[in-house]
């Protein structure tokens, strides 16, 4: 019974490959007005960057200007979720790349962290903090690095330092993201509820992004606490604050996929999204629901992973493991990727893909370390608990 759709899918994939290889040949457009590329950011932000870049070119020794330009690039990287901007930030700072000034160290750590070079990021932040113990940004970034790499105790300590130095929303959100993965999701949820109600609803873009982040975090906690109606409401609230936030879209898409609401995922994420993590979710939903563009989207994603491998990059192991398990249907290979990823990152999604791949590959013994970690952190969530139970049962 399953053979026919599978056959159809294979044929579709083949057609997509043929079609894409037919398209992938250099050509000379017929008309001057043929659009070749759409630039990602609005012209306003582009103008600001160009102006600042012109200033730094005129005054190449000016660290303050370079720091401002690098921060602008990092902010643009964030809003467009585009690593090119990180490379530009790094190039801007290159004359000072090995300097010991805390602001340089913090920016460098941010770039390193985005490239998943967590050890170097942590070392840079610790050096910055040794020189400037009241640097709230450094504590905050350190907390993030510690949490992503599974050092929850360290992350909690760093968040407590943030609490003395920053506004309440930042401090509470920092602590809540640590509590949320260490057995105190209910407490973290209430704390976020409380601080969001108290803190100002100022219209500044930074304040709005901060609220978006806290709201999405709260939605994830609601999911973990088996409160899907609250999760739904909070994801929608967060999307209303910032409809373009890629992190929120990805988390909401995962929520919808788990609820088997695939067509909503297809509506949420456009076919031509430039963000790989979002395309992955769309492909998953398309394949599971048998959507018409499933094969061609999967082929696009395949090409993007191939392009990353050609660079020698292993930043998207989590996504690649997920893709290999579900679309590539090779559980053994997915498990290798998921375990490589687990050595670097230890967030709930990393644990989940490792367990799923191990179960699919019938090798639950390979994820003993993941199970220990789940037990020791008291990570909550019905889905992860069920996966862990299956992996533990002989």
């Amino acid at each position: 019974m399953r053979a026919l759709p599978l056959l159809a899918r294979c044929a579709g994939a083949l057609l997509a490959i043929i079609a894409s290889s037919a398209l992938a040949a250099p050509y000379r457009p017929h008309s001057d007005s043929e659009i070749l590329e759409t630039l990602p950011s609005g012209p306003a932000s582009e103008r600001a960057t160009r102006a600042l870049r012109a200033l730094t070119l005129r005054d190449p020794g000016n660290l303050d200007l370079a720091l401002r330009l690098a921060s602008l690039h990092i902010a643009r990287a964030r809003s467009a979720s585009d690593p090119r901007e990180l490379g530009r930030a790094q190039a801007t700072l290159s004359p000072w790349w090995n300097a010991e000034a805390p602001p340089v160290l913090v920016l460098r750590a941010t770039i390193e962290q985005s490239n998943h070079v967590f050890d170097a990021a942590r070392a840079d932040l610790e050096r910055a903090l040794a020189a400037e113990p009241a640097n709230a940004q450094a504590w905050l970034t350190l907390a993030t690095v510690q949490q992503v790499t599974g050092d929850l105790r360290g992350a909690g300590d760093s968040c407590r330092r943030v609490a003395d130095l920053a506004i309440a929303l930042v401090a509470v959100a920092c602590q809540a993201s640590v509590d949320g993965v260490s057995g105190r999701a209910a407490y973290a949820y209430e704390a976020l509820e409380d601080v969001l109600a108290r803190s100002s609803r100022a219209n500044g873009s930074e304040s709005m992004r901060l609220r978006t982040w806290a709201t999405t975090l709260q939605a994830e906690l609601a999911e973990r606490l088996a409160r899907p109606a609250d999760a739904e409401r909070l994801y929608r609230a967060s999307r209303a604050l910032d409809p373009n936030d890629a992190y929120t879209i990805a988390a909401y898409a995962d929520f919808l996929i788990d609820a088997e609401r695939y067509t909503e995922v297809l509506d949420l994420i456009p076919r031509d999204t430039a963000v790989d993590t979002l395309l992955l979710r769309r492909v998953q939903a398309a394949v599971r629901s048998g959507a018409a563009d499933a094969a061609s989207s999967a082929n696009d994603l395949d090409q993007r992973f191939a392009a990353l491998r050609a660079r020698g990059e292993r930043v998207h192991l989590r996504e690649e493991a997920r893709y290999t398990l579900e679309i590539g249907r090779s559980p053994e290979q997915a498990l290798v990727l998921a375990l490589d990823n687990w050595r670097v990152q230890k967030e709930p999604l990393d644990a989940r893909i490792a367990l799923e791949a191990a179960l699919a590959a019938h090798r639950p013994q390979a994820v003993a370390g993941v199970l220990d970690w789940i037990a020791s952190t008291h990570l909550e969530g019905a889905r992860i608990a069920e996966l862990a139970r299956q992996a533990r049962s002989p």
């Binding site: 659009i35 070749l36 990180l86 941010t110 696009d300 990353l308 989590r318 996504e319 999604l349």
Partner: protein
């Protein structure tokens, strides 16, 4: 103020998992042939826009007209950031063409490259510096191939801008010899071609007299008949091999392979019951056309660089002829020697042909129905 600064960084940190675009890459493909280098360089329009400001009308989009206006600046920017050298001597580089292409992450300009080195390139030095001044995470992905189609891949990064590649460029004669060997190898391993020739040549030392085979009178007469048959086969398969390799004619491989099996079957059966035209050279010519398509698919699988096409075509054909000639030289004296034994027409021709017919009908079934029966 503090909170503002914190917020932007904090958000950057937590959103690390949402970072997921393809970073900046350029794709540099170089093909080295003796002292000449031809190539193609794909550079993302978004990257070029950051250095030469492509969006002239500032509408957030780049069109072909805007790109064309900036060709000179793009060339100057690119040429200043790529240098090729051979054994320490510079190979002056020129941009020969501007096209566009789409990669998985957007539009790219495709620059055609040509360079000529002072002498044959044994070690190619590539000095790559595109975009590193504005994007420290940019990578240049190089694919380097030579006439013998060895492909080297390399990644250039800010900290690895200069790399050198030792090339084992075969001499033209060496290449030619390799193609000849491929041709010989193919005919030696191609039982279908060999058996076709055997079926064709078995009766060459006999003449049909009514329903009976009689031995030919003299060796020269046998040789004339063999030479005619083999020449017709050679001319025919050279024609179709050339046509197919130059992509002038193409037939589906399964059809060709099935028809080749059928040609062997018919030729063998004809030795038992006459069904084909009397003149052997006509049969050899007609079926030779088919076998040429079979040779061509082998040549296509070798993935030849276009520059070496003529050489490879010729070399491969020479190899096939050599293999064929060896078979003729082994087979013809042998069958001539046994031609007037009483057993030869019946045992030699009829039985051998029956075996060949059986085998080839097996191939015919395998190839036309895409199943597996025989171990070879």
């Amino acid at each position: 103020m503090m909170a503002r600064a914190i917020a932007s960084l904090l958000l950057l940190s937590i959103a690390s998992t949402a970072f997921a675009h393809k970073p900046s890459d350029s794709y540099l493909m170089l093909h080295v042939d003796a002292a000449a280098i031809d190539g193609q360089w794909d550079i993302a329009l978004r990257d070029l826009d950051a250095v030469v400001d492509l969006d002239a009308n500032a509408d957030g989009r780049i069109d072909w007209g805007e790109l064309r206006q900036r060709n000179a600046e793009i060339d100057a920017y690119a040429l200043a950031r790529l240098a090729l050298s051979s054994d320490g001597q510079a190979c002056p580089l020129a941009i020969t063409d501007h096209q566009v292409d789409r990669h998985s992450d957007g539009g790219y300009v495709v620059l055609g490259l040509h360079a000529r080195c002072p002498s044959r390139i044994d070690a190619l030095g590539v000095d790559y510096g595109l975009l590193f001044d504005i994007d420290a995470q940019h990578r240049g992905l190089l694919k380097l191939e030579t006439a013998s189609s060895t492909v080297v891949s390399a990644v250039f990064s800010e900290t690895r801008r200069r790399q050198s590649f030792a090339l084992q460029q075969p001499s033209t004669f060496g290449q030619f010899r390799a193609y000849v060997a491929d041709g010989i190898g193919h005919i030696a391993a191609g039982f279908d071609h060999l058996l076709f020739l055997v079926a064709l040549l078995l009766p060459a030392v006999l003449v049909r007299n009514g329903r009976r085979w009689e031995p030919v009178a003299s060796f020269p007469r046998a040789c004339r008949s063999v030479a005619g048959t083999v020449t017709a086969f050679t001319v025919a398969h050279s024609i179709t091999l050339s046509l197919a390799t130059l992509s002038l004619v193409s037939l589906p491989s399964r059809l060709v392979e099935s028809l080749i099996a059928l040609s062997v079957l018919l030729t063998a059966l004809d030795n038992v019951w006459p069904i084909l035209p009397r003149r052997r050279w006509q049969v050899a010519f007609a079926f030779g056309l088919l076998h040429g398509f079979g040779f061509a698919s082998v040549l296509a699988d070798l993935q030849l660089p276009p520059s070496a096409l003529a050489l490879s075509l010729f070399g491969f054909n020479v190899g096939v002829e050599i293999g064929q000639l060896v078979l003729v030289l082994l087979l013809v004296p042998l069958v001539y020697w046994v031609r007037d034994t009483r057993a030869y027409p019946r045992l030699g021709v009829i039985c051998a042909s029956a075996v060949i017919a059986l085998l080839s009908s097996g191939w015919l079934i395998e190839r036309s129905l895409d199943v597996r029966l025989l171990p070879f």
